[in-house]
Amino acid sequence: MAKTQISLTLNGKQIEALVEPRTLLIHFLRDELKITGPHIGCDTTHCGACTVDLDGKSVKSCTVFAVQADGAEVLTIEGMAQADGTLHPLQQAFREHHGLQCGFCTPGMITRAYRLLKENSNPTEDEIRMGISGNLCRCTGYQNIVKAIQAAAAEMAGGQVKEAAE
C-alpha cells in the first residue's frame, strides 16, 4: 500500500517519515527510529510494555497506527531524563526502591507513572494500583513499584523522599 507522510515530535525532536498505514506505532518507534525502550509483550493490548505518552495521554503504542500519531508529541522512556543526564525522580525512585527486576515492563511502567502523577500528584496506594492496572509485571509483584511511585510523588511534591507509609 502507498506510504503516507507523517511528522511528529519524539522526545523533543522533530521527525519526518514515510510509513505504511498499517505500521503500528510500536514498530515505527522500535524498528524505524531505533527507540527500543518501549517493548512488545503481548498481542492483545493487555500488557502495557509498549506504553508511550502521546499528546498528554498514556497510550499503548501497539494499538495505534503511526499514521494516527501524525502531528503528535510523543514521549518515551528515552525522553524522561533531562538533557544533562539528570534522571527523572521516577527513574531514581524505581532504582532506590527495587521497583524492577528484569526491566522489560519498566519503560512502559515509568512512562505510565509519569502521566499518572500528572493526573494526580498525590495518589493513594489504591489510586496508584488502579493507575497502573494497564501495565503488567511478572517479576516484582508490584509492591515495590507502588513504593517507588509514592516516593517519586513525594519527591516531586517538594517533600523528602521518605520511606513508603505502611
Binding site: 498499517r22 499503548k60 494499538t63 497506527f65 494516527q68
Partner: protein, 286 residues
C-alpha cells in the same frame, strides 16, 4: 500481531466521513479509538481494505447539555467521560461504568461511540445506555436518523447500523433525581464482564418509581431486562420483589461458556449483580 494492509483516510467532517464509507463499500471500516478494531486486525480476524479515521472530526467530540438532555459526541473517550463535570452531575452512571472498562491507557483512546457501536456482547456501555434509555444519533450518506439503544442490538457484531453509517452522538434524556449503579463481576479489573448489571431507578415515597435494567455479556448481545424492571417498579425493593426480578433477569440470559464461567454460573451471577446493583442504586437515589 501484524495487521493486513489497508488504505487510510482522515476526513475532516462527518459528511466527508460517511461519503467515504458509502463510496468505499462494505470493506471499509470507521476508526474511532481503534481499541476494538485494531486488536482484531492484529489477529487478522478483521481485514478491512480501507480505514476511515474519525479522530480528526471536531463535530464528533464534546459533551454538552441540550435542553434537559446530555449529548455526548461519539469520539469522546472513556477518559473524558470520567473527567466530565457535566456528566458527573447529570449522568454519574457513565463514569462508574467507564472506570471499569479496560485500563487507563485504553480509556485515554477508546471512544464511547466505538464501545456502543461495536456489537461485542462484552462491551460495557450498551447495557448502560439501555438503562439510561439513550438514543443513538446516526449519520450516513443518505442522511441522519435516530435509533434507541434498546432497539440497536440484534446479535454479536450485528447492530442496527446500515453499511456506511456511524454513530455520531449519544443523547441521554433528563433522568432527574435518580439512583444508579453498574455492578460488574470480573476476574480482574478491566476484564470483560463475567456478568454485569446496569440499573437506573427513581425512588419516591419509599417506593421505586421507574426502573431500567441492562445486562452485559450474558447473551450474544446486551440485554434490556424489561420484565425485571417492570417487576421492580412501584415496589419497595423488598426481598421477595428483588428475588422475582432476579428470576426474570436470569430467564432472558443465554451466556457463552468460557474460562470466566459456565453458562449456569454466569446466569446466576447476572442475578447477583442485579440484586447488588438495585441495592446500591437505591442507596444513591436520595
Amino acid at each position: 500481531m501484524i495487521p493486513g494492509a489497508f488504505a487510510y483516510h482522515r476526513p475532516k467532517s462527518v459528511n466527508e466521513a460517511v461519503a467515504l464509507l458509502a463510496d468505499l463499500g462494505e470493506d471499509a471500516r470507521p476508526l474511532g479509538g481503534g481499541h476494538s478494531l485494531i486488536p482484531l486486525m492484529k489477529l487478522r480476524l478483521a481485514a478491512p481494505s480501507n480505514l476511515v479515521d474519525l479522530g480528526g472530526i471536531a463535530d464528533l467530540k464534546g459533551i454538552r447539555a441540550d435542553g434537559g438532555d446530555v449529548v455526548v459526541g461519539a469520539c469522546v473517550t472513556q477518559h473524558e467521560i470520567i473527567a466530565s463535570d457535566l456528566l458527573a452531575s447529570k449522568v454519574p452512571l457513565l463514569a462508574e461504568a467507564a472506570r471499569q472498562i479496560a485500563d487507563p491507557q485504553v480509556r485515554y483512546v477508546g471512544t464511547i461511540g466505538g464501545n456502543v457501536a461495536n456489537g461485542d456482547p462484552g462491551n460495557d456501555m450498551p447495557a448502560v445506555m439501555m438503562a439510561l434509555n439513550a438514543t443513538y444519533e446516526l449519520a450516513g450518506k443518505g442522511g441522519g436518523r435516530k435509533v434507541a439503544a434498546r432497539d440497536f442490538y440484534h446479535g454479536t457484531y450485528d447492530t442496527a447500523l446500515q453499511p456506511g453509517e456511524i454513530v455520531a452522538a449519544i443523547r441521554i434524556p433528563d433522568l432527574g433525581k435518580h439512583g444508579y449503579a453498574y455492578e460488574k463481576l470480573k476476574r480482574k479489573i478491566g476484564d470483560y464482564a463475567t456478568a454485569a448489571a446496569a440499573v437506573v431507578l427513581t425512588w419516591d415515597g419509599g417506593k421505586v418509581g421507574q426502573c431500567a435494567i441492562g445486562l452485559t455479556n450474558v447473551a450474544d448481545k446486551p440485554l434490556f431486562a424489561e420484565e425485571a424492571g417492570r417487576i421492580v417498579a412501584g415496589s419497595a425493593l423488598d426481598d421477595a420483589t428483588v428475588k422475582k426480578a432476579v428470576a426474570a433477569a436470569e430467564a432472558i440470559t443465554a451466556p457463552a461458556s468460557d474460562r470466566r464461567g459456565s453458562p449456569n454460573y454466569r446466569t446466576k451471577m447476572a442475578g447477583v449483580m442485579l440484586s447488588r446493583a438495585l441495592a446500591r442504586a437505591k442507596s444513591r437515589a436520595g
